[in-house]
């Protein structure tokens, strides 16, 4: 049944847009003719940890990048608390995939974290002692203070990911968007990162992460957004992260990806 807008729907939509720190409407991204992300609507709940889940090539990273204007979408609008994200980028911290940068680049760990302060200092501003202290405090939160003056190429993959997270912490944002923060990291790093994400939530901030490991979704996240080019489902993990929805997102490929805990226990 086709439902057209009535006054009540319009009010409800306006309300949810105003409250959501990250609301996507009709986002479509296409590299050539074939869309990578097609007409996605999503309304991220404030103060929650949300996982974006879907198979390889489902457009998870592409959706994040397009929503932030890092790549140009074909169409769609994205808002932060009812205002266009383009005007609110100073309240948003983005953590790209670790593989997207050259780790042989001649910078030290502390220099990378200080990059998170670019918005604050601006083009001609100077970094103060307080800024450096703040950057060190961010490294402390991810357990990397000992590495502050190391060249980034000397770090392990997990340590590099923590440095990226520290740089985002330095931005002191309301909304944290992370692209595969747990990809290829060691167990200690995974624990450290999830602890930081949960502490961000405790501070009332919103966290959205592209996530690959289905087995940890219920432990780590409150909400889940299932994506496979189109949006499959979104909502609380308890009601949305169901076999039916996962089947719809992953097709027939899920049989071995998830083990039903009840079946194992029985």
């Amino acid at each position: 049944m086709l439902q057209l807008a009535n006054a009540e729907n319009v009010r409800a939509e306006a309300q949810s847009l105003r409250q959501s720190p990250f609301a996507i409407r009709g986002l479509t991204v296409s590299y050539d003719q074939k869309p990578a992300v097609f007409s996605v609507d999503a309304t991220i709940e404030p103060g929650k940890l949300t996982a974006i889940v879907g198979p390889n090539g489902a457009g998870k990273s592409t959706m994040l990048k397009a929503a932030l204007g890092i790549i140009k979408p074909l169409s769609g609008q994205v808002t932060h608390l009812g205002r266009p994200v383009a005007d609110e980028m100073h309240r948003i911290a983005y953590v790209p995939q670790r593989a997207s940068v050259d780790w042989d680049f001649p910078v030290r760990v502390i220099d990378v974290v200080l990059m998170g302060l670019f918005r604050k200092t601006g083009l001609l501003g100077r970094l103060s002692g307080a800024d450096r202290k703040h950057a060190m405090a961010c490294l402390e939160r991810v357990g990397m203070t000992d590495f502050a003056s190391r060249q980034i190429g000397q770090l392990s993959g997990g340590q590099q990911q923590r440095v990226f997270l520290a740089r985002a912490l330095a931005q002191d944002a309301d909304l944290y968007l992370l692209d595969e923060p747990f990809a290829g990291v060691d167990a200690a790093t995974e624990k450290a990162i999830i602890a930081v994400l949960k502490s961000l939530r405790a501070e009332g901030r919103t966290v959205v992460a592209v996530h690959h490991d289905l087995s940890t979704v219920p432990d780590y996240f409150d909400n889940v957004l299932l994506l496979n080019v189109r949006k499959i489902a979104e909502g609380p993990v308890a009601t949305t992260f169901t076999d039916e929805n996962l089947g719809a997102a992953y097709g027939g490929r899920l049989a071995t990806a998830r083990i039903d805990p009840a079946a194992v226990a029985g």
């Binding site: 940068v101 990378v112 000992d146």
Partner: protein, 401 residues
Amino acid sequence: MFLEALFFQLGYNATLVTFGATLLGIAAGVTGSFLFFRKRALVSDAISHATLPGVALAFIVMVTLGFDGRNLPGLLLGSAISAALGLFAVQWLSSRTRLTEDAAIGAVLSVFFGFGIVLLTVIQTMSSGRQAGLEGFLLGSTAGMLYADALLIAGGGALALILVAIFRRPMMMASFDPEFARSSGINLDRTDLIMMGLVMGVTVIGLKIVGLILIVALLIIPPVAARFWSDRADRVVVIAGGLGGLSAWIGASASAVAPNLPTGPIIVLTAFAIFTASMLFAPARGLLISAIHHRNFQRGVHIRQGLVSLAQGQPIYEPMTIRLLRAEGLARADGVPTPDGVARASRVLRDEKRWETARSDPALEMAAARYDGLTQIEDVLTPDQIAELDTRIGGPRGVTP
């Protein structure tokens, strides 16, 4: 004579030319560093070759209008316009077609350069000897440079340095992590435009001294050499500026003494000598220091492995291990450990056990990650932490310290 040139004692004009060249070298090294960080070094080659038709056309236009065809500001303006066209062509081809940037550079570079050479030939048939000097733009020449020309070059170099100082942070962030830079409000297109504009500016003002064929070397060699000296981008930029300035200073001085030598090649060869020295002897990343570190590490590993074998009563067959153990007084020629060797061996075993325990403790995991197999445990952990480990292992057993 050369020394006099180096220290600015060859008269006012030569001094000014050398000064201008030095400033140009600094600007080229500094600007080139960002190009090197952004991994777009070859774009500068397309830009420089694309200047030639502009130089030739500017000459033709100026002569046709009845001015002096060798007017440097006029020629540089022409070169800037055609360099901008060439840069635009590279950008357009690589972003709007399926051509990769290197293919676009190859196409643009050769077409613009070919067109420029045709125009130079036309000029030779066209006018009467007044074109003399245009060839100087190919390989660079300081001969017959005017006071105003040198001033223009020095001023352009200084301006480029000021612009780099202003835009260094966005250029650095766009080079290291473009996606994050974009999310921090840095306009990547505009930043790249500034970077390429700077490169174009340095190329244009460097045409007269270094020449369009070799200016790319002055942009690239100093940063590549500087990279051997430091792991910090801000220092690489400063060192590259210094090396570029040094090359240009020496090159221009040599050219002041021997005016028949083309300036560009001398400057580039000087830069190359500096590059070679940096590659071999730089203390941070030079080949020599790397080889020494590698050798020391290898020796350390052999000694440690030998000690482990001794402690466990295993025979040692590796000749290098035996040789090193003997040299250190830890074992005799027949492979029997000396008392010193026995003590060291048991210490190695004990520390290995300590590390093993440390690795399984989440609180010590970060510290354990810093252990490369040879680090002394006392250098990484505090005495308290070690004591704590020892109680968990069951205390030190039969170890003579």
